[in-house]
C-alpha cells in the first residue's frame, strides 16, 4: 500500500424532505490507497451508500445537497469539478457496480452497446474497437461464448450474468477505483460466491482499489484489507480487517459481530443471539453526541452529549481508528471479571 488514491475530507450530505432535513452524511473523512480494498459496513441510513454517490455527483440535487468537504481523487477535488469533468472520471477512472443489475442495465440496449458506451465516451474508441473491447471484457468477467452474447439484451442473461455485465461495464476503462454498492446482495449465495471470486481475480490482474459496500460481515471479512463501520452518517470504527474482527473497539461493531449466530457446539447448548436493542436514530433529529449512545450499554454521560473524534485506538494495530469515549476492552474485561 502506497500513496493515497482517494482522500475524503469532512464530507457532509443533507437531504431536504417534507419531514425536515435528513443529515445523511455527517463529516466523513478517510483515505484509500492504490490497490487497497475497503469494506464499508453499515445498515440503512448509515450513509455508506450516500457518501459514495455524493462523491460521484450522483445524488439528486435537490433534494440532496453537499454541505461541505472535499473528495480528492488523485489530487483533484471531485466535488469542485464541473459536471463535464466529473463525467469523465465517473465510469472512466472510477468504475461502479450497483445492487440491482436489472434496473441498472437498459433493457432496450444490447449488452455490447452498453459496455461500449463508456469506452466510446471515455477512451474515444470507434465502434469497431469498442465492440472488440466489449468482447474482451465479457471474456474477462467469464461469460461463456462472449462473441455470441454481445448482441443479446439484458433479459437474456441470468441475474448473476447481469451482475457480471455490470462489472464488465464498471471495469471497461481500467479504473483505478471500483466502487461496488451492495453488488451481491440481490444475488443467490452461490452466485455471490462466484462474483466475489471473480472480483478477487480481476483485482489481482488489474490492480485497482475497491470500495465494497455491504451489510454482510462475512463478505467483508474475506475480501477487505481495511474495514470501515458506519452508523448514522459517521465512521465509528475503521482499521485492518483482522484487527477489527478480533479486537473491536466500538460497541456498535461489537454488537454487529455478536448479533451473528454463534454456531459452535451443539444446537441445544447454543446461547441466545445477542441483540442490539432499539432502532437507528431519526436522522432528521440526530442525537447531539455519539449517535449509537441510546442503544449502547457501555455509553457514558459524555457519549450522550458530545460526538467522539475518530482517533487511533490505544494498543490496537496502527491505523485502527475508533470513535468512542469509553474504553471497550477495559469494560469487557470488567464484565468478564464479574
Amino acid at each position: 500500500m502506497s500513496r493515497p488514491l482517494l482522500d475524503v475530507r469532512d464530507l457532509r450530505v443533507t437531504f431536504d424532505t417534507e419531514g425536515g432535513a435528513v443529515h445523511a452524511v455527517n463529516g466523513v473523512s478517510y483515505t484509500l490507497n492504490e490497490g487497497e480494498t475497503l469494506g464499508v459496513v453499515g445498515e440503512s441510513g448509515s450513509g455508506k451508500s450516500v457518501h459514495v454517490l455524493a462523491m460521484l455527483g450522483l445524488i439528486p440535487r435537490p433534494p440532496g445537497r453537499i454541505d461541505g468537504g472535499q473528495v480528492l481523487f488523485r489530487g483533484r477535488d471531485l466535488l469542485a469539478l464541473p459536471e463535464r469533468a466529473l463525467r469523465r472520471v465517473r465510469g472512466g477512472e472510477i468504475g461502479f457496480v450497483f445492487q440491482d443489475p436489472m434496473s441498472s442495465l437498459n433493457p432496450g440496449m444490447t449488452v455490447a452497446a452498453q459496455i461500449a458506451e463508456p469506452l466510446r465516451i471515455h477512451l474515444g474508441l470507434d465502434r469497431r474497437a469498442a465492440r472488440a473491447r466489449a468482447r474482451e471484457l465479457l471474456d474477462l468477467v467469464r461469460i461463456p461464448n462472449a462473441a455470441a452474447r454481445l448482441d443479446q439484451y439484458p433479459h437474456e442473461f441470468s441475474g448473476g450474468q447481469r451482475q457480471r455485465v455490470m462489472i464488465a461495464i464498471g471495469l471497461a476503462c481500467r479504473p483505478k477505483l471500483l466502487i461496488a454498492d451492495e453488488a451481491t446482495t440481490a444475488l443467490d449465495v452461490t452466485v455471490q460466491a462466484e462474483i466475489i471470486a471473480l472480483v478477487q481475480e480481476l483485482k489481482r490482474e488489474l490492480g485497482m482499489a475497491i470500495i465494497w459496500i455491504t451489510h454482510d460481515l462475512g463478505v467483508v471479512a474475506g475480501i477487505s484489507d481495511t474495514v470501515q463501520v458506519m452508523y448514522a452518517g459517521r465512521i465509528l470504527e475503521r482499521g485492518p480487517v483482522d484487527d477489527i474482527f478480533r479486537d473491536p473497539r466500538n460497541a456498535y461493531t461489537l454488537g454487529l459481530l455478536r448479533s451473528l449466530p454463534d454456531l459452535s457446539g451443539g444446537r441445544a447448548g447454543r446461547r441466545r443471539l445477542q441483540q442490539i436493542d432499539g432502532s437507528p436514530p431519526d436522522m432528521r433529529r440526530p442525537p447531539p453526541g455519539d449517535p449509537f449512545a441510546p442503544r449502547n450499554a457501555y455509553a457514558t454521560a459524555r457519549c450522550w452529549a458530545e460526538m467522539p473524534p475518530l482517533v487511533q485506538a490505544e494498543g490496537a494495530a496502527p491505523g485502527h481508528l475508533v470513535a468512542a469515549w469509553y474504553d471497550l476492552p477495559a469494560r469487557l474485561a470488567e464484565e468478564r471479571a464479574r
Binding site: S44, G45, G233, M283
Partner: protein, 304 residues
C-alpha cells in the same frame, strides 16, 4: 415484557432512519394538506371551486335579481352599475343568470360524476377483484363504450332521454361511467397484488371484506383525482348539451344555454356570451388545477 424483548425499541418512537422512501409515503391528513398547500396552482383551483360552490349555494342571497324576471328597460343593456354584467335579449340580469347558472353547471358536474362513480366504482371493484369471465365481460362492454367519444355518447344519450337538465346529468353520468370502471379495475388489480392483501387473506378475511376494507381505501385517492378532473369535463359536457338545447330548458339559466342564445347577438351584446364563456372557462380550469394538485398531494410517487 414477558418475552424479554427490549423496551428501548418500543420507546424508540417512529424512527424511519435515513430511509428516504419512507418519508414519501402517504401520511396523515395534515401531511396531505401540507403537500396540497405547497402547490400554489392547486390552492388557486381550490379557492375558485369553493367560491363557485358558495355562490351557487347562496344564489338566493347574492344574486341581485330574479334570474327569470324580465325588464324591458334592460334588453341587451350594456354593463352598468344596475346590471354589472349587462342585460340579455329579454332584459334579464346576466349577473343573476350567471349566479343561478352556476347551480346548473356545478350541479351537473357534481351529480353526473357522482353517478358515474356510484356506478363505476362497484362495477370496477367486482371486475378487478373477481376476475375471470365477469371481468372479461365488463371490460369488453367498457371497451365498446370507450370507443365512442365521451361528448358524442352524452349527446346521443341525452337526445334519446329527452331534453331536460336531469336527463343531461344522467346522460353525462352514464357516459363517464366506463372511465371509472376501467380506472377502478386497474387500481384494484394493482392493490390486490400487494402483499398486505395476501396478509389479509392469510388471517381469514372473506373476499367482500378484503375488497371493502383493504382494497377500497387504497384506491380512493386515485378515484378522487379522476373524479375532480371529470367534473371539469362534465361541466363542459353540460354546457355543450345546454348549448344544443338538450340540457337546461328556458327560461331557467345555465351557462351553456346562455351561450346558445348569445350566439345570435354577438354583434349587439357580446357580454351575453363573454360572461358565461368566462364562467365555464374558470370552473373548468379550477377543477383541473385542483385535480392535478390532488394527484400530487395524495400520491407523490405517481408524480410525473
Amino acid at each position: 415484557m414477558s418475552t424479554g424483548t427490549p423496551l428501548t425499541e418500543s420507546a424508540g418512537v417512529a424512527a424511519p432512519a435515513g430511509n428516504l422512501a419512507i418519508l414519501q409515503e402517504p401520511g396523515s391528513l395534515a401531511a396531505f394538506w401540507r403537500r396540497l398547500a405547497a402547490r400554489r396552482s392547486a390552492l388557486i383551483g381550490l379557492a375558485i371551486v369553493v367560491a363557485l360552490v358558495a355562490t351557487a349555494a347562496l344564489a338566493d342571497l347574492v344574486a341581485p335579481y330574479d334570474p327569470t324576471a324580465t325588464d324591458w328597460g334592460a334588453v341587451r343593456a350594456a354593463p352598468s352599475l344596475a346590471h354589472p354584467f349587462g342585460g340579455d335579449e329579454v332584459g334579464r340580469d346576466v349577473l343573476s343568470r350567471i349566479i343561478y347558472g352556476a347551480r346548473a353547471s356545478l350541479g351537473a358536474g357534481l351529480v353526473s360524476v357522482g353517478l358515474a362513480v356510484a356506478l363505476g366504482l362497484p362495477i370496477g371493484l367486482v371486475a378487478g377483484y373477481a376476475g375471470g369471465w365477469i371481468d372479461a365481460a365488463i371490460m369488453r362492454l367498457t371497451d365498446a363504450l370507450l370507443a365512442i367519444p365521451f361528448l358524442i355518447l352524452a349527446i346521443a344519450l341525452a337526445a334519446f332521454l329527452g331534453p331536460s337538465l336531469t336527463n343531461a346529468m344522467l346522460a353525462i353520468g352514464l357516459s363517464a361511467t366506463s372511465t371509472f370502471v376501467r380506472l377502478t379495475r386497474a387500481q384494484v388489480r394493482a392493490v390486490a397484488a400487494e402483499e398486505f392483501v395476501e396478509a389479509a387473506r392469510s388471517v381469514g378475511n372473506p373476499p367482500w371484506r378484503i375488497a371493502l376494507v383493504h382494497i377500497l381505501p387504497n384506491i380512493v385517492p386515485a378515484i378522487l383525482v379522476q373524479a375532480t378532473l371529470t367534473i371539469a369535463a362534465a361541466i363542459i359536457a353540460e354546457a355543450s348539451l345546454s348549448f344544443l338545447g338538450l340540457g337546461q330548458q328556458p327560461p331557467e339559466p345555465s351557462w351553456g344555454a346562455m351561450l346558445n342564445v348569445a350566439k345570435n347577438f354577438m354583434d349587439q351584446a357580446p357580454w351575453m356570451a363573454i360572461w358565461p364563456g368566462l364562467s365555464i372557462f374558470l370552473a373548468v380550469l379550477a377543477f383541473n388545477l385542483l385535480g392535478d394538485g390532488l394527484r400530487d398531494a395524495l400520491d407523490p410517487r405517481q408524480r410525473t
